[in-house]
Every structure is written in C-alpha cells, then in structure tokens.
C-alpha cells in the first residue's frame, strides 16, 4: 500500500457461516452461506461484486467458487499460503480496490473438514508430504505430523526460554473462557490449566488440548473503498496496513530458528505500513492452531520480547482486561477451526472494531490486528484494521 492512497480500502461487510458441524452442507454451500451473510451485512448484493478472492486445496479453486456462485469477476485471487491465506487475500483485495482494479471484492472461505475428513488433519500423515512433490520428501520419511512440527517448535522454545507447559496451557484456558460466551463455539465447557496438561500427549510436549478443534465452517468479508462504503449498511473498517512472509515450506528442518515465526518479518512491516506500533493495538485475533503458535506470535509481532511469550500469555494475559485481549470468539482452540482459519480472524476483528463483540467486546476498540499462520509455522500474514485512519 503506497504512501499516497487516494482510494482507501475498507471492509464493509463480514459474516461467519453456521459452524462447527455442517453435514447437510457442501463445501461450496458453506462459501455461499457466508457470502450471502457478508453481502447482507454490507447492504450489498452479488450484482455489486466484481472481484472474488478465495482459496482451498485444489488448483483453480477460486474459479470453481465463482462458477458455483454464478459470478464472473474481473478480479480473481486464490493465493494459498496455508492458514495465513485469508489475511493475504484481504491484503491483495485492498491493493486491488485502491488501485481501481476492482470495486467490491468478496473474500470467502468454506470447509467441511470435520464432516468429510474427520479429525485426522493434524496426525494423518507424514508431515504434509502427501500433498507436495519434490523437496518435501526430506521431512516426510520420519513419521512426523503437523502437530509434531509445532511440537518441535514448542520443545525448542521451552528449552531456550524456560517456557512451561502450564504457560502454553494458559492460552487454551483463555480461549475457552471466550468461547463460553460464543453460542456457536465447538467447545464451551470450562477448562483449567490442569485439564490441559493432563490431557493426553499427541506429540510431546503438545497435549490434545494444546491443539485446535477440527470443524466445519466458513466466513466471508467484503472489501471495497471508503467512498463506496460511505452509504452502506455498516460503519467501514479501514485496512490500514498488511504484509506477509515465509521462512520455509513443509520442511521444518529448513527453518533456521523454530522459535521465530514468519510474524517477526511481516508483523513490523504491516505495523509500519499502518502507521502504528504494537502498543496501539486494542484487540488481537491471532491464529491459534496450537497454543505455541500464539506464544510465538505475540513475541514476533512485538507485544513482548522474544522468549517472554510464556509470561505474557499466563495469568489471563490474553483475556478481557488483560495485556492483549485475543481471539474474542474463542479462537481455533475452542470455537472453530475448519483448516484455514484466517477468515475468522478478520471477521472477529471487524466485529470488535464495530462494537459488535457482545460479551467479549473490548471497550472502545479502535485498532485490531489479525495474524494468520500457515503450514508448519511456514507462513505468516498480518492485517492491521482500524475504525479510522490514524
């Protein structure tokens, strides 16, 4: 996003689909439900849409969603960097509307992961090499899993910084507290640190309750210009700045330092583009595939120093009134995680900035950050959103 931005990108509508279990819907119908609701939220219709951004696990995925929804967009984006994809799609959509390449970009996500694939996503194969050719083989021979990749990072973080299992567990406990107020959330029963650390180990040191839920669900948002949004249904939320980064693909052995995520690279760039600092952020929506993901992210985005993430997240640090209210919908750890959760982060950030956060509303939230993490800690993407331009 250039320094001079005569057209300013905003998010004019957001929605989630029903979740977390949708055996009666196809994957594309989940896109449709979320899209219907996001457009209605904005006060727009499909006739207003001239851009579509979405991604999934097949090539030409966005083309297929356009076909299903009966759209013939002039702008199409299906950038896939795993769980961080939807932050990138919003970043790109903002570029597009600011450049005049599109006027109204619909960004949709839909998944029926739970109904179609069951709960094997994180422990179903050789660390992901089942779906990538070439160099992915180097980490694929050893029986590592997706959970195992994050476990390697967690173990190393514990070793270098004396981070404890109880500190990691505190992330899950806070997410559950938020989920308890979300009637849609997949898991709502109260959770204690003892519950987390006594749940069975999936890949040491990560327990079952250090891992996100696996869900069906979708979400959508509408990106347009401030000018176009001026007479729409809801107050616009500005896309103030965004950036994304990658450190490796499926080989965690190719990461130079597993205690540092791509957020360390893209977070400061996104904040600079937005003209803010971490201290300006009122509420955060941080990808929480695993508890360790959040600990790394709060450090790498600069909310605390490297190595201090464990202390930052314990004692309700991520709760309402805490150091950084985070994942106010209950997050992927408790509310909903259909595989690529990034769109949910954007939706919840916008709701907070509009004051639609309900029981977990952060008072007078003005600036929110959504940060997605994809692959095996492989990719990160940061979007800074605000009620006004700072």
């Amino acid at each position: 996003m250039s320094a001079a931005r005569p057209r300013r990108a905003v998010i004019a509508g957001v929605a989630t689909s029903d979740y977390p279990l949708l055996p009666h819907l196809s994957e594309h119908a989940v896109h449709g439900q979320a899209a219907d609701r996001a457009l209605a939220d904005a006060g727009l219709t499909f006739a207003d849409v001239d851009g579509l951004a979405t991604t999934g696990f097949f090539p030409m995925y966005a083309t297929g969603v356009a076909e299903y929804l009966g759209l013939h967009p002039l702008y199409l984006d299906e950038t896939n960097i795993g769980g961080a994809s939807f932050e990138v799609l919003v970043e790109h959509a903002a570029h597009a509307v600011e450049a005049g390449a599109a006027e109204v970009v619909l960004v949709t996500y839909g998944s029926v992961q739970l109904s179609q694939m069951g709960r094997r996503l994180g422990t179903g194969g050789g660390g992901g090499a089942g779906f990538a050719p070439g160099p992915a083989i180097y980490d694929a021979l050893w029986g590592n899993t997706l959970v195992g990749c994050y476990a390697l990072a967690a173990r190393r973080h514990m070793h270098q910084f004396a981070t404890t299992a109880e500190q990691l567990a505190a992330v899950a406990v806070t997410m559950r507290q938020h989920a308890a107020t979300n009637p849609q959330a997949q898991e709502r029963e109260p959770l204690t640190v003892a519950d987390v650390v006594s749940s069975r180990l999936v890949a040491d040191p990560l327990h079952k309750l250090d891992c996100c839920v696996i869900s069906d669900g979708g979400a959508a948002c509408v990106v347009t210009t401030a000018e176009r949004a001026a007479d729409l249904a809801k107050p616009p939320v500005y896309v103030l700045g965004a950036a994304h980064a990658t450190t490796h693909h499926l080989n965690v052995s190719a990461s130079a330092d597993l205690t540092v995520s791509p957020a360390a690279q893209c977070g400061p760039v996104a904040f600079a583009r937005a003209g803010i600092t971490p201290a300006d952020v009122d509420v955060a929506q941080l990808y929480d595939s695993f508890t360790i993901t959040v600990v790394l992210t709060v450090e790498d985005l600069g909310f605390c120093a490297k190595g201090e993430g464990g202390a930052f997240v314990e004692d309700g640090g991520l709760g309402l009134g805490g150091r950084l209210p985070t994942n106010t919908d209950g997050g992927g750890l408790s509310a909903c995680h259909p595989g690529m959760r990034g769109m949910f982060l954007i939706v919840e950030a916008v709701r907070q900035l509009r004051g639609e956060g309900g029981a977990t509303q952060v008072p007078d939230a003005r600036i929110a950050v959504a940060h997605g993490t994809g692959g095996m800690l492989s990719t990160g993407a940061t979007v800074v959103l605000g009620r006004e331009i700072p």
Binding site: R120, T123, G124, G125, G126, G134, P135, I137, Y138, D139, A140, L141, W142, G143, N144, T145, V147, G148, A151, L152, A153, R155, R156, H159, R200, L201, V202, A203, D204, P205, L206, N251, V252, S253, A254, L258
Partner: protein, 153 residues
C-alpha cells in the same frame, strides 16, 4: 526398541488391521537428491559443500544458498546434536502408527546443516536437546538409504 529402523516393527494390538506390515517410505531419487540417497545406501552421510564460500548445506540443491555458486558433495562426520525433538504418540498413517511412540528429531550436524530424522537405539524418554548423536543407516529401497541417529556414547 520401538523406534523404527529398516525392519518394520511388529504391529500392536489396538487399532491393528489385517494387512501385512507396511515398510518404511522410500524416497524417489531425483537429480538433486540421488547422490544423497545413494551414499546413505552405502552407509555414508554426505552433505553439500561450496568450494567458493565454504558453506555446508542440506537438503540437496542445485546451488549454494549462501553465494548461489555450484556445490560439491563431501562426506560428513555423521555426528551431531539434537536441536529439538518430539515423541509422536498419535499418527493414523501407516506405517508410522505401528511405531508409536517414536522420536522425530531435528539434528544439527557437526558440519552445520540441520536434518530431520528418527532417534533410535534408546528409549524416547532418554532423548534431550543437545544430546550427542551419530548416524546409523538403513536401506529403504534399491536406490536409497536413510540416515537414522542413535546416542553417540
């Protein structure tokens, strides 16, 4: 020993199926990797070395990541230390589910490059970060061997 070597471990009772044990997955050598896998088949761990800048690297590539120049292959000491590890206790995929629990580790070789491997020859609970390990080899196909690591006592 539950940790996997070349021979498939016996399948445990719970969750076992009637199919014969599945062997370790074998890499299909390509232009970059063939020297790496064939050396391991001969019981040698090799790494790439840049004659121009002196850097060592894995995994195999067509160029030096430090200076983008051409690389040679050199034999490594086979010694390293554990950078991080996890004990896998859930994996639905065969043959891995037959090995549970087993250790997946990232090992920093004495020469510098990092690789993923299984630590074998000890109980999973005995593995720790910084542990000295050395390579031991298993043939997984007619073209490929792999380097496992065991405690370097």
């Amino acid at each position: 020993m539950t940790a996997p070597g070349a021979e498939p471990a016996a399948r445990p009772g719970p969750g076992a199926d009637e199919r014969p044990p599945k062997p370790r997955p074998a890499p299909v050598p390509d232009a970059d990797s063939a020297p790496y896998w064939s050396a391991a088949l001969e019981g040698r761990l090799v790494v790439q070395h840049c004659p121009a800048c002196g850097a060592y690297q894995l995994y195999p590539r067509d160029r030096c990541l430090a200076c983008r120049g051409p690389v040679d292959w050199v034999e490594a000491s086979g010694r390293g230390t554990v950078y991080s590890f996890t004990v896998i206790r859930q994996n639905y995929a065969r043959p891995f589910r037959d090995w549970i629990p087993y250790v997946v580790a990232l090992v920093d070789l004495a020469e510098g490059p990092r690789l993923m491997t299984n630590v074998v020859g000890c109980e999973p609970d005995d593995v720790h970060i910084g542990m000295a390990v050395r390579a031991t080899f298993a043939a997984v196909s007619e073209q490929a061997g792999i380097a496992l690591f065991e405690p370097d006592r």
